[in-house]
Symmetry: C5
Amino acid sequence: MLINCAAYQGGKRIGDIAPGEISEYVKRPDCFVWVAIKDPEPQEVYAMQEEFGLHPLAVEDALTGHQRPKIEEYGDSSLFAALHVPIVKGDEIEVGELDLFVGPNYVLTVRHRFEPGFQAVRDRAEKEPHLLKRGAGYVFYALMDNVVDRYFPVVDALEVELEEIEERIFGESSPRRNIEHLYCLKHKLMVMRHMVEPLLEVTHKLYGGRVPQICQPVQEYFRDIYDHLTRVSLQLDGLRDMVITAMSVNLSMITLHEGEVTKKLAAYAALVAVPTMIAGIYGMNFAHMPELHWAFGYPLALGLMAAIDLILWRRLRRIGWL
Amino acid sequence: MLINCAAYQGGKRIGDIAPGEISEYVKRPDCFVWVAIKDPEPQEVYAMQEEFGLHPLAVEDALTGHQRPKIEEYGDSSLFAALHVPIVKGDEIEVGELDLFVGPNYVLTVRHRFEPGFQAVRDRAEKEPHLLKRGAGYVFYALMDNVVDRYFPVVDALEVELEEIEERIFGESSPRRNIEHLYCLKHKLMVMRHMVEPLLEVTHKLYGGRVPQICQPVQEYFRDIYDHLTRVSLQLDGLRDMVITAMSVNLSMITLHEGEVTKKLAAYAALVAVPTMIAGIYGMNFAHMPELHWAFGYPLALGLMAAIDLILWRRLRRIGWL
Amino acid sequence: MLINCAAYQGGKRIGDIAPGEISEYVKRPDCFVWVAIKDPEPQEVYAMQEEFGLHPLAVEDALTGHQRPKIEEYGDSSLFAALHVPIVKGDEIEVGELDLFVGPNYVLTVRHRFEPGFQAVRDRAEKEPHLLKRGAGYVFYALMDNVVDRYFPVVDALEVELEEIEERIFGESSPRRNIEHLYCLKHKLMVMRHMVEPLLEVTHKLYGGRVPQICQPVQEYFRDIYDHLTRVSLQLDGLRDMVITAMSVNLSMITLHEGEVTKKLAAYAALVAVPTMIAGIYGMNFAHMPELHWAFGYPLALGLMAAIDLILWRRLRRIGWL
Amino acid sequence: MLINCAAYQGGKRIGDIAPGEISEYVKRPDCFVWVAIKDPEPQEVYAMQEEFGLHPLAVEDALTGHQRPKIEEYGDSSLFAALHVPIVKGDEIEVGELDLFVGPNYVLTVRHRFEPGFQAVRDRAEKEPHLLKRGAGYVFYALMDNVVDRYFPVVDALEVELEEIEERIFGESSPRRNIEHLYCLKHKLMVMRHMVEPLLEVTHKLYGGRVPQICQPVQEYFRDIYDHLTRVSLQLDGLRDMVITAMSVNLSMITLHEGEVTKKLAAYAALVAVPTMIAGIYGMNFAHMPELHWAFGYPLALGLMAAIDLILWRRLRRIGWL
Amino acid sequence: MLINCAAYQGGKRIGDIAPGEISEYVKRPDCFVWVAIKDPEPQEVYAMQEEFGLHPLAVEDALTGHQRPKIEEYGDSSLFAALHVPIVKGDEIEVGELDLFVGPNYVLTVRHRFEPGFQAVRDRAEKEPHLLKRGAGYVFYALMDNVVDRYFPVVDALEVELEEIEERIFGESSPRRNIEHLYCLKHKLMVMRHMVEPLLEVTHKLYGGRVPQICQPVQEYFRDIYDHLTRVSLQLDGLRDMVITAMSVNLSMITLHEGEVTKKLAAYAALVAVPTMIAGIYGMNFAHMPELHWAFGYPLALGLMAAIDLILWRRLRRIGWL
């Protein structure tokens, strides 16, 4: 679905143009075209391929919309980028994709499966003509910056999640639920890492070494994005490490808890076994058992059982088994 | 077994040729020969060595058919490639091999142990003469692309397998079967990784840095293959990570389950031990035990046992031990 | 809050200057301005941006005060550095940040969230004009050296903490507390590593390879800092390794301890079960049980029970179960 | 012990020569000397040092015969190589060493501790004068190829060993033996890895980058060796990964098995405890217990016990505890 | 404490000189000064700084004597090296340090905390004037070689220690002691690794790539040291791997042993529980229990108990529970 198709001149919006007019505007040296498509039909993209003269491999990639994050140069003056956007759905993180075609005087974005779009980026850019004047490289930066900024709240939420699980682990509640949550958290971390790591690698090339021509005027801005990505990546690494540790801690806590249950059971068993033994003794059929004939033999026997149990109970309490 | 032996000119098929004529056609500058062999007899390969002038080391490799995935240059203008093809057989992944000899105007494929072959690739190429015109490099790409596309369904199936095991782990059924499945899955992942990783490494050289002459006209296509391989590799890495985690989760679940069994056993033991103790007490032989002479002593005793067990049963139920 | 704003000439302090005069002094070739700000208000930083002509991206970074450790060059002659300072608060390590803008004849420090500041560095520098004469590079070194020196006592404290936990583990006390402490220690190590590792990486560039112009006269000093960082990093790596090992040792100790408890329980159970069995035997109602009619039958039976228990007790003691 | 000392000309053996004549033959430009020593006495090696003019450090290395695998260049035209040969002795892998001195027209091999030697290599080389003509580089390749070929059967045997252990693990037999075998297998893998990894690294330099002059004419052959080494290395990596996994699987199986034993024990305990409780009840001494006076009271009681046990036994069987 | 201060000319010792004369001798082009200090007082080192013209940062390092292993160039013609020497004290490895200042015609060694010193190196060097003639680089090599040779016996001792623990693990004795020993061994390995790894890294630069001028004449000797270090490092890696494995094996053995104890306990419990049940049955008070009135009822009952226990005992023995 075509969302936006506008031409700009000197940093200012000339107005919306028809898709068929794009190739004309792209030819004008002082003009700049910015087109946004969402969940595209094949023919929409093929039309754009014709207007902008896009490379068939990149077009095919944008149509499938399931690329790993990457930034590829085609020739000297155009780029194709695939960026991933996290979509939090309940307990899963799904992956949206933004495909970008960037040329000397155009930017074409193809958005797959996620909301909201980048109207806010366009609005802000249109309010700052001096930035928009810098051309396609700047728009590319602004869109990528917006994408990377969407990673932070997701990773922060994962950190909060881990903290909640940690509390439960040391509070000894619901080890089974903890295991499931940790597993699920680990999975989400993996999804995020696959989103961030490949991007980190390619972003590095946008400001250091052989920088693509389009990005050269704004390469310090790309260093800023690289910085943000590194921070996300560090956070993810740390989280991963702690999740693994938390898993092993949880296992230790389960083992420990089991040991405590065993002790408790043994303590209760002792409280029952000792009176049973005494009762057994006074259940023997010896002809000469003087206690049996005492007037208070029975209450004394019961008292003995109670007394021994009381003493046992106190000692077990003291050593922490009850 | 010789499968196919055809000559092409200007992107169009001239016709099948006899193996003995190959060297003639290869000499013609505008001609292109594409030969396919399957599970070869030594003499077939030696005949081809003569016709194409292949390097003895590469020929030896193609005969054994048990190479690690690799792409080697021989001199300036010819390549030898060994690609692995996964063959899913029940619960195992076996490894087929496709050996490729690529020269300026020929492609010789030697297929080992797997079906189906590459007739589809040939058919499609013959329908698109403008692509076939690009020569050996393009055919090499088309074959390699086909091989790499065979990795995706296998890896996707492994992902589904893991999801099934996950469900069983958290559904607490059959931990023994889970262990075996996870171990087997781990093994299959290793087989796939050994298929993909070495290829990933060498494919990189087909589009970046010093690209072999034959691949230069289509190097952007090889970047596309590299991309696909990276995606498979990422998937495999993620799977591996989750399998290891699932193994440790399974162990935690087993330990946890054992603890629950212990508690259940203890609960039942209590339900039997307490009446036994009471019976023991009323089995004592004291001369003066007033209860023994009550008319309703016996039913009262039985009632006491039942009552205590009922109370115990309820409490144990409440704390989740039963 | 502005802490300090002084101009220097030939290594000597001319005196405090008003923030509005900074740009004047910076223009004088023989002058050097050193400004310190703490937990800044945005307008303070914007004012400094104007006076010193700082890059907007760096200024934005300094305002947020949550960067990963980094050192960035802007143009040929100015640097922006973000260094982390550990703040030990009870059982947590929080992260303070020192942002540094370094130009040919100025140093601007923006301190976030931590005490004490760097008055000591300034005092020492002012007492050694021959060092201060070397200019901004030297001041940058002196501040960075002070920051890195703050890592050592923190890491040493973590080492002491680990040793205490080790003692408790092998002394078998409070495994639950040990797990919590180890987890917490692991977390603190991660915080420290995230502080040190990125810095290590960038410091390397200040003395080897393409050294920024400002740092060239004092690059051997930066090698010294790099050395200190490497030492901290090695210590952290070692600690991390041992913490992981200690965790697994703790689990082994728990399992071992549990086994010992089981044995102890079994021993006590035996001491109760055997007399119960004997009592059961003499509680049988056979008409002809000669022992029952012996005069000393009862004391003999009790004696038998005691004797067997004594023997059992001794044997259990000997094999270490009691 | 001197095994062989022969001179070659134009790929053909001239004949055996006395060790003292070596230096003469080495000086002739068209001659080539190939000497083999086994478990050498120091004086033998020193004599060779004199004849060939070997470097003292390399000679010292060859005498001790306990080097890590390496290939070192001395000057522009001579090499010293130390290769490891696995010696399978029962359940251990010992390490033999082949030290090679290679110069423009000589090869000196010093074999330590292993059999068989390299007579087969020499025989084959003498039958193919066109290969032997290529000189020292080719002989070096032929010997190294023979050494590397000795790795395959050893690694394959380790794979078979792992498969046997796997079967036993999942067949649940002898966990103790499995642990020992896995540990021992891990150790053997380490020995093999230390043999292969350092060699892999240095072999890479024999065909890519700055290739030593002696190896240049046959560098494609060294690529073949590198290929073989990579395959061994991949196999070892895979084995290592699976051994670690098998260890953790074994622990899971042990834990699982223990849980099953616990359940079985509990089931048997229940079959004994319930009749004991019933017997206890009918052992009570209440004056009015009507059942006690029934003519069939006793058989009924026994029947009750048997009936309950039968029901219990069936249920326990159904849930798999017996 | 000054240990030695001698001047050499043409490889021969001229004689001991006073510390104050050093600067004179260093100026003479054909002279060479070799000074050794042990556990120095600050003023000693400052005096040497003056005489040799040492860099203040290196001097500070040598005074503290707690550097990580490193080799640093100062200017074109002088080096500072810090090497670690293991000091085995009971069950701990402490770290001694040798600091070396090496210039075109001097070597100054500062030894910290360890014995014996390097008199043996000096003696041997003085006996071989042709080697000593090569100058400071050779002396540097000889000292470093001596330091590295001190690593081997320590690492070999650790290997023996591991073997002893392995035997105990599989001999099933004292798991608690094994855990402690393994932990302690792991710690010692870490100490050794921190000693060797940084050195390995820097030594590489002394023979490959841009070699410092002083080391150039003897760079093949430094390759030899690098070789020794690599061997130590490989040994340490292998040890580390096996220690981790041994830890997990030990845990498995503990778990296994526990399972065996459980079975044993259950077996004994059965031997007591069954007679108790039989005794309970014959303790019932039914009016009509024919066995009770048999003359041999009692011995028969006892016989029954014994018989069942005997059968049980045999079966339990056969399945290995007793």
